[in-house]
């Protein structure tokens, strides 16, 4: 292929990237816009000096930080089963995850309400069994949002791990077993390290999904557990303070990029095979 043809093929990607960068640049500029066409850092000063708004950033990072490992703990075994089970089981699990993935977030949120709500399956069962005499508050708080942020991004965790797992050379595990390692040691010292690229990809995707969640905290938080995306929306659309919304967005973007950088550095260190 000539260099010219290669350059032409890259052009659409460059165009998409340019639109994305331009949007980010405009958001950045908006965050410094002050009254009467002047520039100012006042929106950033307001953000960092107000514990109320910083609190939304903190709670978003906190919930993403603990929901992501839980999703990993629950998702890894699913990926493992998919990679080792019969084609029928694999197809069934894939279908379940794909259907979940393509179902609207709003519908999934209402489905979770049917499980966690005051009249939900869990509370009805607990009341019927006499475990509680009042419905437990499983929603409209951090718990309800956390449950949704563990369950909903599950496909983002399972599929990257599965794609790596299915390519793990079975002879390596067989060799470890033949050398006397039990199944747990084989998994921990052979299988898991080989799947780290998939784990890192899944962790990054789920962390970003959780960090920027909007619909789930909006519906399952019931107004008591808004996250940073909800605040950005409210400031931009309802309060109509686009500059402050842009400032929160830029801080979120920088913090996210920092986390992404650290995660990929960590992933690169552990996921690459040791060199001779």
């Amino acid at each position: 292929m000539s260099r010219r043809a290669a350059a032409l093929l890259v052009l659409p990607a460059i165009a998409v990237l340019a639109v994305f960068v331009a949007a980010m640049a405009l958001t950045g500029l908006t965050s410094f816009a002050a009254d009467a066409g002047r520039w100012s850092v006042k929106h950033y000063v307001r953000l960092v000096s107000d514990s109320h708004y910083l609190g939304y950033l903190w709670r978003s990072f906190r919930i993403a930080a603990y929901c992501t490992p839980i999703t990993l703990l629950l998702g890894y075994p699913v990926a493992l089963v998919m990679a080792t089970a019969s084609s029928g089981v694999r197809l069934g699990l894939t279908l379940l995850l794909v259907v979940q993935f393509f179902t609207s977030y709003v519908i999934r949120a209402y489905a979770l309400m049917l499980v966690l709500g005051n009249n939900g399956v869990v509370n009805r069962a607990l009341l019927a069994l006499g475990v509680v005499d009042q419905p437990l508050t499983l929603m409209y708080n951090e718990f309800g949002v956390a449950v949704s942020l563990v369950l909903l991004p599950m496909p983002f965790m399972v599929f990257p791990i599965y794609s790596v797992l299915k390519n793990v050379e079975p002879n390596l595990e067989a060799a470890a077993t033949s050398l006397g390692a039990d199944r747990l040691r084989v998994f921990w010292h052979v299988t898991f390290p080989l799947t780290l690229p998939g784990v890192v990809a899944g962790v990054v995707l789920v962390f970003l999904f959780d960090l920027t969640a909007y619909i789930m905290p909006g519906l399952l938080g019931g107004g008591y557990f808004d996250m940073v995306a909800n605040v950005i929306y409210d400031q931009a659309m309802e309060v109509r303070d686009q500059s402050f919304a842009a400032a929160i967005s830029m801080v979120l973007l920088v913090a996210t990029l920092a986390v992404l950088y650290l995660t990929t550095r960590w992933g690169a260190r552990y996921a690459e095979p040791p060199r001779e």
């Binding site: 109320h52 209402y110 708080n141 019931g222 008591y224 659309m237 309802e238 303070d241």
Partner: protein, 343 residues
């Protein structure tokens, strides 16, 4: 096949094609397309029901685009300011005013809309004319609430502990303004409203941001009462045998005029004005409000019989100073989140 044969077939084919094109019905001169941005759900359905009437009267092709909320619609208009894609826009008064200020809406040329003579002056502003007025009240489930709700003050009844949902964002803080009014304040004395809503906290189950959320929470049984209800959205759920009730408390009463605004910078301005006029025609008005359970803007049109069953005489409708609210909304929103929307 010989060359001569091919030539004959080619000529025959060309003749058939020419004949077909000649006989094909010619498209009528393209009608002017007018794009109306409005809400989805009940509002879209109501407009759809009068679409043909409006198209006929205004001689246009009417197309609807959906907005998730009035504020979302305004943001879209602002994003399209250099090249607007919408001719007409329905919203709420405070947002229409903001649209006029930001230059996406042009002042309404009242003289060019004949049916405006039948619309009361207070429903017409430079930002647009009301096309109907939508009642606000309390929407609740009779099977969840142990008594009949009649007044705003009933929301504070201890028997409603953990059953009430409400909203600050919806209708730009109108629930807070109501709380202030029943405590002797107003939008200009909002501290009284905050104190009153703080006292409601034991009864509050959750907060919603959109009217559709308010209905879904009630339907799912997560709340028994939507403390700030919008009648058009729930109108079709009411009636004999229904477990849902809608109350318009006698004092203070809130009725939101729904303005239609003329978007600035579109080529078919005259056609858009004809559409506004067609919407204000009495027959179209009556069809619209029949589907929405609302009060027509045209005084010669009749309100639907069904709302007369539960709507008291509308002689205490409070007129909110939305200009004042707009300038203080950011401060109220921040305070609401800190003082009310916390456990």
């Amino acid at each position: 096949m010989s060359n001569a044969c091919r030539r004959v077939m080619f000529v025959v084919l060309a003749m058939v094609l020419t004949l077909a094109l000649g006989l094909a019905p010619r498209p009528a001169a393209a009608q002017t397309e007018i794009v109306l941005m409005t809400w989805g759900g009940a509002f879209h359905d109501a407009f759809q029901a009068v679409k043909a009437d409006i198209e006929k009267a205004a001689d246009v092709k009417l197309t609807f685009v959906t907005q998730t909320g009035a504020a979302g619609g305004l943001s879209r208009l602002e994003a399209q300011k250099a090249n607007p894609q919408v001719d007409l826009w329905t919203s709420i008064v405070s947002t229409a005013d903001a649209g006029l200020k930001s230059g996406v809406v042009e002042p309404l040329p009242v003289a060019q809309i004949p049916n405006l003579k039948s619309v009361p002056d207070y429903l017409v502003t430079p930002a647009g004319t009301a096309i109907w007025s939508s009642l606000r009240g309390i929407f609740y489930r009779a099977d969840k609430v142990p008594f009949e709700i009649k007044t705003w003050e009933d929301l504070w009844d201890a028997r409603l502990k953990g059953l009430v949902s409400t909203s600050f964002i919806l209708d730009k803080g109108n629930f807070l303004i109501m709380a202030s009014l029943i405590s002797g304040g107003s939008e200009r004395d909002i501290d009284k409203g905050f104190e009153r809503v703080k006292a409601l906290k034991p009864n509050l189950a959750l907060f919603y941001k959109t009217d559709s959320e308010s209905i879904k929470f009630l339907q799912a049984g997560e709340a028994g009462v939507a403390g700030w209800g919008i009648l058009p959205n729930v109108y079709k759920l009411l009636g004999p045998g229904s477990q849902y009730r809608f109350v318009v408390p006698a004092k203070p009463q809130f009725m939101a005029p729904i303005p239609i605004s003329l978007v600035k910078g579109r080529p078919n301005r005259a056609a858009a004005l004809r559409v506004i006029d067609a919407i204000l025609a009495p027959a179209v008005q009556e069809k619209l409000v029949e589907n929405l359970g609302s009060v027509p803007a045209n005084r010669t049109a009749k309100a639907p019989a069904k709302i007369r069953d539960f709507v008291p005489p509308l002689d205490n409708v409070y007129k909110v100073d939305w200009g004042y609210v707009n300038t203080h909304f950011a401060e109220w929103e921040s305070r609401w989140n800190r003082e009310i929307q916390t456990r």
